[in-house]
């Protein structure tokens, strides 16, 4: 069994999105119950969530945006940049806690105290751009973690794999010019799903070095297509890139039971993906992997999916 850290804090539920919003605090409630019921909590190493230092958030977001976000919460404006991004007065602090928790996981990973980690955080991050909140996201958690790895821990090559069913426009744009961070996303085809980006011809804009790759999945497709494209696109690309640490933007909304998309990935399909990603991390990054929750909105299947995900991390 591996030493798997868990970033979780009750305070992540303080970010309230209002009635009927899919990105609800209940998602974390059911996830925790699932881990509890499977008796996994005692096996996980708890990682505290502390407010992230501003200088790390500023490696990704503009000071103007950070200030605007804080003000919007202080003034209880209800939303930031669009009606999708519902906020309450606690949202800003919660977002900082989420980032801080993930950075604590990075520290423990790089200090050798854990082998990998799962971060059950809210709000999600991969749609957040440098100066804009988008798609329920405010701070780009995974992007900040990648910058932290580069600057604080001097990691040469960071690989990001995003299997949330929506393209992580924020993460892709943030690392577009950086040949040392590889952004890979597999998601529903942008002509049929939010946010309408992530086409297969988007390869990154860095002189000669292509460190952006997108695989698109058509509505109605599932396990087979995911398998095919991950083998065809991701595996050879990371074989070339050889990441030293792997970060996952782990969204679970591609599941057939999740109605945020028309993709039909099964529970077994998710397990296959995670096992293959894990193997890839072991091969190039010494198993150093941190998985961060993004989307996934079906309260029915989330518990089982996260349980399976964490069991794979624990190597159970």
């Amino acid at each position: 069994m591996r030493r798997t850290g868990l970033v979780y804090d009750e305070r992540f539920k303080l970010h309230k999105t209002g009635p009927g919003h899919p990105e609800a605090p209940e998602r974390l409630t059911v996830i925790l119950h699932g881990l509890e019921a499977a008796d996994l909590l005692p096996k996980l190493i708890p990682i505290p969530a502390t407010a992230a230092e501003m200088r790390w958030v500023e490696t990704v977001h503009s000071p103007e945006y950070i200030h605007r976000f804080e003000q919007a919460c202080l003034l209880d404006l209800g939303e930031l940049d669009s009606a999708d991004n519902q906020i309450c007065p606690q949202t800003y602090e919660t977002a900082l806690l989420a980032v801080g928790g993930i950075l604590n996981a990075v520290d423990m990973l790089m200090e050798g105290k854990i082998d990998n980690a799962f971060c059950a955080v809210r709000p999600p991050g991969h749609h957040a751009e440098r100066s804009e909140a988008l798609g329920f996201c405010f701070f780009n958690n995974v992007a900040i973690a990648a910058r932290y790895l580069q600057i604080r821990w001097k990691v040469g090559r960071v690989g990001i794999v995003d299997f949330d069913v929506h393209h992580g426009n924020g993460t892709q744009h943030i690392f577009e010019g950086d040949p040392n961070v590889f952004y890979y996303s597999i998601h529903e085809h942008p002509s049929f799903a939010y946010p309408g980006t992530g086409r297969e011809f988007e390869k990154g804009s860095c002189s000669g070095l292509e460190t952006t790759l997108n695989s698109t999945i058509l509505p109605g497709q599932g396990d087979e297509e995911y398998r095919r494209k991950i083998m065809r696109d991701l595996i050879p690309a990371f074989d070339e890139f050889m990441p030293e640490v792997v970060l996952l933007s782990a969204g679970f909304d591609a599941h057939v039971a999740d109605d945020m998309s028309d993709i039909k990935l099964s529970t077994e399909g998710f397990s296959w993906i995670m096992k293959r990603l894990f193997r890839m991390a072991v091969q190039y990054a010494d198993g150093r992997l941190i998985s961060v929750l993004e989307g996934g909105y079906s309260l029915d299947v989330l518990p089982e999916l996260i349980r399976n995900h964490v069991q794979i991390l624990l190597d159970l």
Partner: protein, 224 residues
């Protein structure tokens, strides 16, 4: 949606007396295929295209000697010898749709834009139109597309817009495909939200038929 807004203003031009080899170089270096031909005060007198230049080049089947003599002759040829005089033009006050339809009908790739005095103000090409319509379709904004089949009757659009607005969702754009099926058209709202499932459910509740891209895909699968 006026041509004035989308046209290219810094137009490269040539004179009627410009040598065609010089014109060819100008096109190649700037990766353009149309050069308006102007006289004093930027008055437009013609247009020369890369196709005109290619037609003037010696045929590759000629012998070396024949080619050499052709090339000497070419060195003296001027743009005015091969240009299209009095080309089809558009005015800055015309619209992008005008340009689009004209391009379709006349099978031409670009139009010089001139004012009522015949002075060149810009050029509008397929490239400019593509950029303008990508913008109009709102493809650069994050959003999600849905497709709705509606009867060809009055008031359908309003019902759709109201239903969507009720959900607090903003529109990026709406496209309508005028002929979809017998007596039906298809409406494609591009919505600036990630949460389209509640919009879709509401539309279904109201009795609208949503286009399911899965239907097309399932049709493509081999039948078992």
């Amino acid at each position: 949606m006026f041509i004035d807004k989308s046209m290219t203003r810094d137009v490269l031009t040539v004179r009627p007396e410009t040598g065609i080899l010089a014109a060819q170089t100008l096109m190649a270096q700037n990766r353009i295929r149309h050069l308006p031909v102007v006289v004093e005060d930027d008055i437009l007198v013609g247009i020369v295209t890369d196709r005109d230049i290619r037609s003037a080049m010696p045929a590759s089947i000629l012998s070396e000697a024949e080619k050499a003599s052709e090339e000497r002759r070419l060195a003296f040829m001027k743009v005015k010898d091969i240009m299209t005089a009095n080309p089809v033009t558009v005015s800055p006050a015309q619209t992008l749709e005008d340009a689009l339809l004209m391009m379709q009908n006349l099978k031409v790739g670009a139009f010089p834009v001139v004012d009522p005095e015949g002075k060149l103000k810009g050029i509008i090409s397929m490239r400019d139109l593509t950029r303008a319509f990508v913008n109009v379709l709102g493809l650069q904004e994050p959003g999600a597309l849905i497709g709705i089949v509606v009867e060809n009757e009055q008031g359908q659009m309003k019902k759709i817009v109201d239903a969507i607005t009720e959900q607090g969702v903003s529109f990026g754009s709406i496209l309508v495909s005028r002929v979809w099926d017998e007596g039906k058209r298809a409406v494609f709202p591009y919505l600036l939200t990630s949460n389209i499932s509640k919009v879709k459910n509401r539309l279904r509740e109201l009795g609208f038929t949503l286009l399911d891209p899965m239907d097309w895909y399932l049709d493509q699968l081999p039948k078992r």
